[in-house]
Symmetry: D2
Subunit: 383 residues, 4 copies
């Protein structure tokens, strides 16, 4: 018998950004209920956040360790099923590890963790425990990204020759981290963000999107990594040449100093038969540029799309679906898989589609490779 | 003490479209919990829908009358706070009336009801009971629509001279009602839809949007109403000239036979200082065409927008918000107002912003006027 | 033996706008040579303009009458072949009549003339003399307009149900005619412009475009004509409902007070199989919105367009063609037809495609009907 | 006394593409007259082309050498003033050299010539003879490119940090050179095109555009050059990282195998205060993405643009100007400069703006550097 899945959250207290996004994404489809949380390192703040969120008194914990410990002791029909981790990068590993060790499934914000060592340890733990682990590379949740992936897989655009993936933002054009902007502060701090700034924060999304759609893997890269804002401690811009495992060539660039850009993730993929183009900021359109017939605009919810594109849209064409709906697709698929596991049944293949710890490991490898290449005088560095 | 608001739903069982939209919109912000429903006129189907939605056994009722009766007897901390009505037009009045008479607040899908008589009766009841009544003219929930309204109010575009509001769709280009398409069937059936087809279903959205943004009222109109598909029983297209109460002129046209159009609601407003343009299908951009300086693109979540635009956006600029978020703004504002009323406190003025029974009455007047004008040989018919 | 065609111009002296456009359009394809002109009512100014244009001394005349008289006496290999009339509306009839009476072909700016009486007289004269007469409804010269017309003719979009044609401009949002802006002055002056302002100046372009693409004729209309700027003597805005001879319904609106609009002529045509959309400001794209397959973007110079679209493009796809090229298509086709006539051969059917005196008469009828309807209390006025 | 400038053309006979473009560009503004040509290496074909173009008998020459020799002997009021060279790359040097040596000014298609040696020789000759030499890097002729350059120069966007210039085309996605497509044949033939294919043909346009707008110079580059189509003899794709002389970083990529792309040259420039974006295929819009205020769309002919943008537009805003008009700006400026020189007067600084032999030398250097870098294992190669 299917039931609602119960979520405990780590991080995401008052004033946080991504925690609220995770909660909306989890709530949208009515499959998941927030039952508890360790919302802040301050127990007081955590409690207040719990009240904001209408949690039962006593289930806003002072730490993730307490949460995991206490929830584990609750009866089966009551305790949380999984942990959602929405803290800064350096605080992913601890709760993820503890959750897995205690039998809780995990949804974790990206990038997976702080470094390769942590990443490999988590991967190992997931493999051993066989627990579900979703990583919120949310941009792959858009219906038109699913369509693109299906088209590539089906050979619609022929053999891929060239891939251009971009992620320009402008919000760190000035030294925002010197103000009290919380998001800027931790994302530019090596102690909390890791060895990379822009390349970790958004470069990994670009890498993940390119590999997800094409099914190809980057084999080597040549990176030009910069810090444009004086005194900033991590990179805020990177331009990278890519080689893929089928011989395709590519470019990935990501920036936080591209003045005036909002969140302009986009990708172009050129095959022998057609080119595809998709913009995250206009996510319901997929441009298909055919070699030998007029350009087509495929649209979310319109006409005969591939099943995976259809299964990840909620409303008829022309009613725009956005960021939260794409994000919610990860939570919904995760919930469907978990419900099926709990009920001992199989889930439709189409819903097994969400980023996992393996994508997380690959993301950490990307971060390490791209920073290494940026410092290298050799032209090509292996992924 | 603020608490989650409890919703009971009328309609929206398996296979319905708009019911699921209402549930997602209600769930998104974590302020509302679905606790019961009369999801279908078949008690059996209603029960199955209740199971799909993880409702407590016994709260999936066989009829709205049963729901209202039974819920009323539940203890205060348990019974539903409001009824959400998501049935076809001819089934709005009954549950709305009964809910109000029994002290339940109401959210109702548009158009308000079946005819002016019902509309006036509901309006009277709302005025007498002083209960909250929200009508889901959801398109006014978009942040950039709020921004447009604030700009007009603030005089940014000067005195309004011309308004063009369009709502072209193409989905009824063929006689879809002859297939088993449920949506097409009731929307083209005078017994369920009322005297108007396209003009009631989408024309009212266009009318509501124009009056909401401009703060003006249509005073008279000249309509050319058509049924293009052979054998269809209601209008599927209408072109209407408008006069507004400040002397502005306008055009409203809506169609369900505009082949290839998805859901292309859009509006242009020309004042003495600037023109505004907004497209529902690209809802996060507001085009401002200044008379004497370069065109600007205002964007959801970016820069210094008016407070009402900011208060109805959830995520930073460049992360597209869509139809469900706009729809959710009605539910969230309704919930905030209801929470405040239950707590005996005042709610911020900014959240009192949702369509009410008065918008519904105006919509029904629009329907009657436009159909009358369509049949009239006089040039102008009073609104 | 083909030779260059010799043009004499009436109007278009220093400071004029449309005269220079005509000269560039005539020059572009190397088929036409400007040999003489009566550029101004001041002989002095006319002479100076002649010098600017590198004309032979003695061929910048003091009046069109002098020009026609003197040119007629020149030897055949030297004298002008046709007259190009680029004066304000009230000064079209005189030179057109005299030119025709003296055996010169004519290209005339639109609208054809000042009123129906003049229009009919010119039409009669053209029929009697069998001379070539082109009217520069230049917007029909765009390749993608040709493509749209061919698609309609070929049945690609099925039976036409609805047509929306718009021509919003904002340049007369203030009382510009009170400054020394020459263009504004004559266009708002009933003595020079005729009975209509916006409806004559740009409404006629919209009417011509709609009828040209669809091959349909407007049969009746219902117009709401306004003058928004205080003290202006002619209309600056009009909203018109249309009926077409096949039963299609339509809307035409044109404005010069649509603040912030540049020259935003555009059209949408909905048939039973597809919708077409074209914007003059982005003229190389034709949007085809199919009822049952993805939207296509047809592009000037790309892929397999209809022959008429191909014959009116000059450069490969992606090299944007603009307003002057469309304008030049009228001159080039006119030149090809005239060259063929002079050589006594047939010209390819595809080049006989330019607006004539008959389009001009229809335009004058439109002006008279729309102004009449604007004043009428009857709903429908015959075209 | 100003007079029309007389042009002789080398190349551009029947069936050629770019020759016709040059003729239309030269004719548009009425400042230049085509008086003679050596249109083909076949004297017969040259003569036929001369007839097509209505040239005086006897001035369609059998070779450029003959043309230069014979024209030189004509009286001053009759002989050509300059030579326009529109042949494939390997045939630029000969006529350019001979023209300069015989006192004729030159307009030459890009790239300048076949290799650096030729380029330097021409540069030296231009410097010695002080004759005018224009190179048709036509994309810098667009008004909005002029506006972008002026904005950068004026500091409007602050210090430049990042530049992305792209030139994707798809027309060589298949081995078109094996068909009888003349354009494909010579452009992929090392004997006629030189050491580079795509990078010479379009990469040089991208390089020229980036340096023209920004006023910066590329100092070093890291190139990944590919030939995707089997059996093709030159590159058809290249991805290049760039360093500029002010410390800015950049990306240049150009491709002829980007399936479905037409001629999508575009550029983005990010400064400390704003980002600029321009697309050649939508050339009348310049996107200005401000760091701290709403995005603006600057438009050709609209509002208060910089003088250089205004001086290179011909018609009011909203009347799209295209590729030919931009191309014509080079010819017109060249003509104005030549007219002034012939009249012994100064020309306005604004018209001295066209690409010269120095741009051509820089382009050849770019070609050599980028091909060298493509083959190098070193990360950075000096420009």
């Amino acid at each position: 018998m299917k039931r609602k899945i119960r979520m405990g959250m780590v991080g995401g207290g008052r004033g946080a950004f991504i925690g609220a996004v995770h909660r909306m994404a989890a709530a949208l489809d009515g499959q998941i209920e927030l039952v508890c949380g360790a919302f802040s390192s301050s127990p007081e703040k955590s409690k207040l956040s719990g009240e904001d969120l209408f949690l039962s008194s006593g289930r806003a914990y002072g730490s993730y360790a307490e949460m995991i410990d206490k929830e584990k002791r609750l009866p089966e029909g009551e305790r949380m099923d999984f942990v959602s981790i929405v803290t800064p990068n350096h605080l992913h590993f601890g709760p993820a590890k503890l959750a897995l060790e205690n039998g809780f499934h995990v949804v974790c914000d990206k990038p997976l963790c702080f470094n390769m060592e942590e990443a490999k340890a988590l991967q190992k733990l997931v493999e051993e425990t066989k627990l579900l682990f979703a990583l919120t590379h949310n941009y792959t949740g858009y219906p038109m990204v699913k369509q693109a992936r299906a088209m590539v897989k089906n050979g619609d655009i022929g053999d891929i020759r060239k891939i251009i993936v971009e992620y320009p933002q402008g919000w760190l054009s000035t030294k925002l981290e010197d103000s009290d902007q919380k998001q800027a502060a931790w994302r530019t701090d090596p102690k909390r963000s890791g060895i990379a700034g822009a390349m970790g924060d958004i470069g990994t999304h670009a890498e993940n999107l390119a590999e997800y759609i094409t099914g190809l893997q980057i084999t080597e890269m040549c990176a030009d990594i910069s810090t444009f804002v004086d005194g900033r401690r991590l990179d805020d811009d990177g331009n990278v040449l890519l080689h893929f495992d089928n011989g395709a060539k590519g470019i990935l660039h990501a920036s936080q100093i591209a003045a005036g850009e909002e969140n302009n993730l986009n990708i172009r993929i050129y095959g022998t038969k057609a080119g595809l183009q998709w913009f995250q900021m206009e996510p319901n359109t997929l441009y298909v540029k055919w070699l030998d017939k007029p350009m087509e605009l495929l649209r979310t919810g319109v006409g005969e799309l591939y099943p995976s594109a259809q299964a990840h849209a909620r409303i008829p064409g022309g009613h725009p679906e956005g960021y939260l709906e794409a994000f919610a697709n990860i939570y919904r698929n995760f919930a469907y898989c978990l419900q099926a596991r709990l009920a001992g049944v199989e889930v439709d293949e189409i819903y097994k589609d969400f980023p996992t710890v393996h994508d997380g490991v690959r993301g950490m490898q990307f971060v390490e490779s791209v920073i290494k290449s940026g410092k290298s005088e050799a032209k090509w560095v292996k992924f």
